[in-house]
Symmetry: C2
Subunit: 368 residues, 2 copies
């Protein structure tokens, strides 16, 4: 495990050197975790050509054994009480005679950045940009393993829900129940707030659960994802409550199902990141549904539940082997409800079987 982290730090160091920086200051939590295997709140990682130094906040309590459970193999420094760990790291950089220090300008506030000037006097501050986010896009086998388990946990929680009585229960209670079940099945936590939308709330891209109760005849859209060892996936399914879905419900579900399938089938290494979204969107448009403004139907997942690459109609990158992404189109008819279906899949070449589906709960329009 620590070899993987050391290798990632090595790749980042090489990137920095190529860009003219002799060190990097990493502050974004998911990036610190990616490079060290641990994620204490407020920590900063200083990475020079010669060494890596993890700077911890003063207030961090040790665990019961009196030891720090963090990166036992990495040199550590504790910041002064109330000191920003980025400042302490910048001081260390100056001590190590760093000349050009690349920082994460998309993470540091203007105030924090200004505060680096004094401790890092003599050190020139450059922008690292999203270099670590780019490193994170292609996952290694360990990471894919963790994503598979996260997906399994979500599927288990969803499966249990499908066997229980839903009519009369509120969206909020169902959401809390799903979260509890994911944790019971081994999740660190929910990867993002569980969404349950019933009736006219169904089919929405984002919906905060309310006290509305599930009723016969409703569409029910459930969106959840477990976080396992820091890695999160997403699943969204739409069901119908009661024995006999209406014709418009069967038709809308079929359309969204076909759109989502077109999106999934467009996934392959080398393909434009806009292709899955466009494929799904074309099916919906042919069925008379066009979303304005268009909201991207997918994105990468990993240590952040939403990360690069974005899978939207205007994107200009390419997909790679071993990149996990979501594909989640939907149609929402205000006042009526709708259908959203979302999977997490790993991009794989055709000779390896095509995209690997992680979230395997059935996508059929189950009548519950």
């Amino acid at each position: 495990m620590s070899d993987a982290h050391a290798a990632r730090r090595e790749r980042l160091s090489e990137y920095c050197s190529a860009g003219g920086a002799d060190a990097a200051l990493i502050t974004r939590p998911a990036n610190v975790r990616y490079l060290t295997g641990c994620a204490p709140c407020g920590a900063t990682l200083l990475l020079t050509r010669e060494r890596a130094l993890l700077v911890l906040p003063a207030e961090l309590p040790p665990d019961d054994t009196g030891e720090h459970p963090y990166a036992a193999d990495l040199p550590r420094l504790t910041a002064a009480p109330d000191q920003d760990t980025a400042e302490a790291a910048a001081e260390a950089a100056a001590r190590f005679h760093v000349a050009d220090l690349a920082v994460e300008e998309h993470d540091l506030t203007v105030s924090r950045h200004r505060a680096l000037a004094a401790p890092a006097a003599g050190v020139r501050l450059l922008d690292l940009g999203r270099a670590v986010e780019r490193l994170r896009v292609v996952k290694d086998e360990q990471e894919l393993g963790e994503l598979r388990i996260a997906a399994e946990i979500g599927d288990q929680a969803l499966g249990e829900l499908l066997e229980s009585i839903l009519v009369g229960r509120t969206e909020r209670h169902l959401a809390m129940e799903l979260e509890r079940r994911m944790i019971d099945h081994g999740a660190d936590r929910a990867g993002y707030p569980v969404s349950v939308g019933t009736g006219s709330h169904s089919g929405r891209g984002s919906h905060q659960p309310t006290d509305r109760r599930v009723e016969e005849g409703d569409f029910l859209t459930v969106s959840l994802g477990a976080q396992y060892r820091g890695y999160s996936v997403r699943t969204t399914r739409t069901f119908v409550i009661g024995a006999a879905p209406a014709a418009w419900q069967v038709e809308l579900h079929r359309l969204v199902f076909e759109a989502q399938r077109a999106g999934r089938e467009a996934l392959a290494p080398g393909v434009l990141t806009s292709a899955p979204d466009r494929a799904a969107r074309e099916v919906l448009r042919a069925g008379g549904h066009e979303e304005q403004p268009p909201r991207p139907f997918g994105h990468g997942v990993g240590l952040e539940v939403r990360e690069a690459p974005q899978l939207g109609p205007a994107e200009m990158g390419k997909l790679d082997n071993r990149v996990p992404v979501t594909v989640g189109p939907g149609v929402h008819l205000p006042g009526r409800g709708g259908v959203r279906i979302e999977d997490t899949l790993v991009v794989r070449p055709l000779e390896e079987g095509g995209p690997e589906l992680l979230t395997i709960t059935t996508k059929e329009l189950l009548a519950l």
Copy 2:
């Protein structure tokens, strides 16, 4: 309600003028909410001498009625798809011929700040600093009412827990149960993650619930707070499990109880913000317990569960009437556990009865 928000915007405008800025760009979510009454994710408020303009992200969905539930009385602008609302607001500022625009440098990342340069060409960017945070410190009656309800909700959840069986249940399950009960009693959500620590996990300032089960003889520390209409409070209580607490447990609880009482009794308008912490810390020190490094025993609460003022030993401000704060000292003995007791109180002058206690669950060492 909207009069209160308009009055707050007026005060901020005056502050800006006094500081040489003719407009302010507010991005920090709690501050946008404080000034407008609403808090759509990613919104920016532009406040000039003549007008207030709320800039919403393009992707914001309307609710079922097709209307925006946000600040119906405030002029609104929707940013372009994928556009940072701060950029759209900066463009508007340029259109309104703003000369000096004060921005929240403690909120905007370096990247976002840089991105304002082009749309706001010709506009000089200044730092607003924590002006809105300072305005938020003293609460009006509406806010105090919301804090009282939040406190009541937490007390209800805690009270119900105390009547249930605890032995054999895990910290995580108890935490999830408490969160569910707070929501059932009307909370928007938990103000912060519920903390339950049993046995050697008890008494810690921050503890993430684990799968450890409650056992006879354990100290049990519970920390929770409901968020109601955006406003959050904090309560922490320590109990003992089983009929007969050990002598060391009775003694430690008495010590922390006395320390916390000294802290509460030190609250008054005009008093230094360091005074309550010092009073509590002195009692603990006399009892043989000195925390190194010292972690502040309290802080303000409001739209953010931790906000100004900080109540720590090195603070240099003064308390004011109608400022709600926490007072929460504790002692944790690694490997053994400990006691933490925390209340939320509103600072009031003696002639109005002294500090108003919001969190009224008993602080006695109940044997459960």
